[in-house]
């Protein structure tokens, strides 16, 4: 009983409070032991476990062929699982597929469309397909939010790739889904349109829609996601809140351009994690980006004092923080 009450309260959490209560909210999607073996024997997914929280933007990151699309396709009903279970808000995707699918909108990776249908008709078709009563006001809202209103009478065949992508998003939103899957939403989309789409996704999240996007653009995950899951070779390698991921795995570097190159690191500085780069022209100090680790920025002033005392002179300095991309590349490489 008390559990039910906790669930109910958690579901009503406002988006602004979301970040603090992610752990307390019930999973919108619960994936357990999901496996996909093709007839050829190829195992595209290997016992995947994954929980998606209500109202978050979850980025599924992975190289091509890692299993991102297969995972999404199973959850959305396009592919049969070989083993395991998926529940969408408690509804099993096989035994209770109607309730499960009614809550999901899917934007596929491929730009598929009925070439001769108009934008309005194809978006209305999607709404009807999900069994929702025709609602031109809602379709209009969706089209306007995606800057498609002026194109509503255009046939799909006349639209550019970016516009088609928007129509696919509009189709996915036509039945007012609680959960939106975006499979590589910005693949082949120019920078401006990409920014627009990110804004659309954020505003959806603010309306309480849970968004799961796959991408192999690190920038996208870094920009958008609340949590990040890394999938590689059919396995979830890591799931972490983005900020925590950056904190835990992110490394900062202080790089000093030396006035005169060093052959080796002076003994008085040996207890610092220092290394030389560019034939001794650059002294590199590597430390954790997180301020609560032992090598805090506070120790940088001690380091600089010791460098001064050691008689090493530098002409310039700057710091670099490792990006999600480096973290990701390291993870995938380590795993391979």
């Amino acid at each position: 009983m008390s559990h039910d009450i906790a669930d109910a309260t958690a579901t009503e959490t406002r988006p602004t409070e979301r970040a603090h209560t992610l752990q307390a909210t019930p999973s919108v999607i619960a994936v357990q032991g999901l496996t996909k073996r093709y007839a050829s024997g190829f195992e595209a997914l290997k016992r995947i476990d994954l929980d998606i929280q209500h109202g978050e933007i979850f980025a599924l990151l992975g190289p091509n062929g890692a299993g991102k699309t297969t995972l999404i396709s199973i959850i959305c009903g396009l592919v049969n699982a070989s083993d395991g279970q998926v529940r969408v808000n408690g509804h099993d995707i096989v035994t209770d597929y109607r309730a499960a699918r009614a809550q999901i909108g899917l934007v596929p990776q491929e730009l598929t469309s009925d070439a001769f249908a108009t934008v309005w008709n194809t978006v209305s078709f999607s709404r009807g397909l999900f069994g929702k009563r025709a609602d031109s006001a809602h379709i209009e809202r969706v089209l306007r939010s995606l800057s498609l209103w002026d194109k509503r009478r255009n046939k799909m065949i006349t639209l550019s790739g970016g516009m088609k992508r928007r129509v696919l998003i509009a189709k996915a939103l036509a039945h007012e889904p609680q959960i939106l899957f975006l499979d590589e939403p910005t693949a082949g989309v120019d920078v401006e349109l990409r920014r627009d789409m990110w804004d659309v996704v954020r505003s959806l999240r603010d309306q309480g829609v849970t968004v799961i996007l796959t991408t192999h653009y690190i920038e996208e995950a870094e920009e958008m996601a609340d949590r990040i899951g890394v999938i590689n070779d059919g396995e979830i390698v890591l799931v972490e809140e983005k900020a925590a991921l950056m904190r835990q795995l992110g490394r900062k570097q202080l790089r000093l351009d030396l006035q005169t190159p060093l052959a080796s690191i002076p003994e008085t500085l040996a207890h610092y994690p220092l290394s030389l780069a560019d034939d001794g022209h650059v002294l590199v100090y590597t430390y954790a980006a997180s301020p609560d680790e032992h090598s805090t920025p506070a120790s940088i002033s001690a380091l600089l004092n010791d460098i001064e005392a050691a008689g090493v002179r530098f002409k310039d300095l700057h710091t670099e923080q490792s990006s999600l991309e480096e973290i990701f590349v390291n993870l995938v490489r380590k795993d391979a």
């Binding site: 093709y38 959305c76 009903g77 396009l78 592919v79 049969n80 597929y97 109607r98 309730a99 499960a100 699918r101 009614a102 999901i104 899917l106 596929p108 491929e110 598929t112 469309s113 009925d114 070439a115 001769f116 249908a117 008709n121 078709f125 999607s126 009807g128 397909l129 999900f130 069994g131 929702k132 009563r133 189709k171």
Partner: protein
Amino acid sequence: MNFRAVGTIYHFELARAWRTLLQSLVSPVISTSLYFVVFGAAIGSRIQEVEGVSYGAFIVPGLIMLMLLTQSVSNASFGIFFPKFTGTIYEVLSAPVSYFEIVLGYVGAAATKSLILGLIILVTASFFVPLRIDHPFWMLLFLTLTALTFSLLGFIIGIWAEGFEKLQLVPLLIITPLTFLGGSFYSIDMLPPVWQTVTLFNPVVYLVSGFRWSFYGISDVSVGASLLMIMIFLGLCLALVGWIFKTGYNIKP
């Protein structure tokens, strides 16, 4: 039952037919008219009556069946093959609709189209030859059952086909020969005895025979056999469609 979804698929498919009105309706009407000119007027004038019916009128039920079979198969196979080919099928598979509802939408639309077509050809035929329909109810029943059954067959072919070649293969190699050899243009009494027996293995013979009976009260095989045959064929197609969705064959890996 997600009636709204069924209706949505049904209307979208019919809308596709209106967009391609020329191919969908006009061309079968023209080709049927040509059959009447050639078989009915030119050749038919030299053929004596068949069982008391003028040859031109005798071939009308067979011609309608010929068009009904080929159009049902091609409409339904294209209707499901095209979304599979372009990839838009993803949306139907991800929607909260059952397989039965998907079939109902696609096959229902295809059958409706060929049914309308059959009636248009009937009207066209009435301009060329004197027509008589003894059993209108049975005529409509045979027409509907055949349209439904062969639309189901078309649906199966559309799912089975991986390319346009395969899509054409079955209609070209199986449906058309069976129809031409199915007594559309002749009574099987006109065949030598051996071929009369062979032809009884052709399911189309039963369809044409039953359908012709509903017009003129004459038939090659008994009406009961015709009805049984089409029900068996309908059952087979339904079972095959059921198997396709159960296994996800060629549609859901």
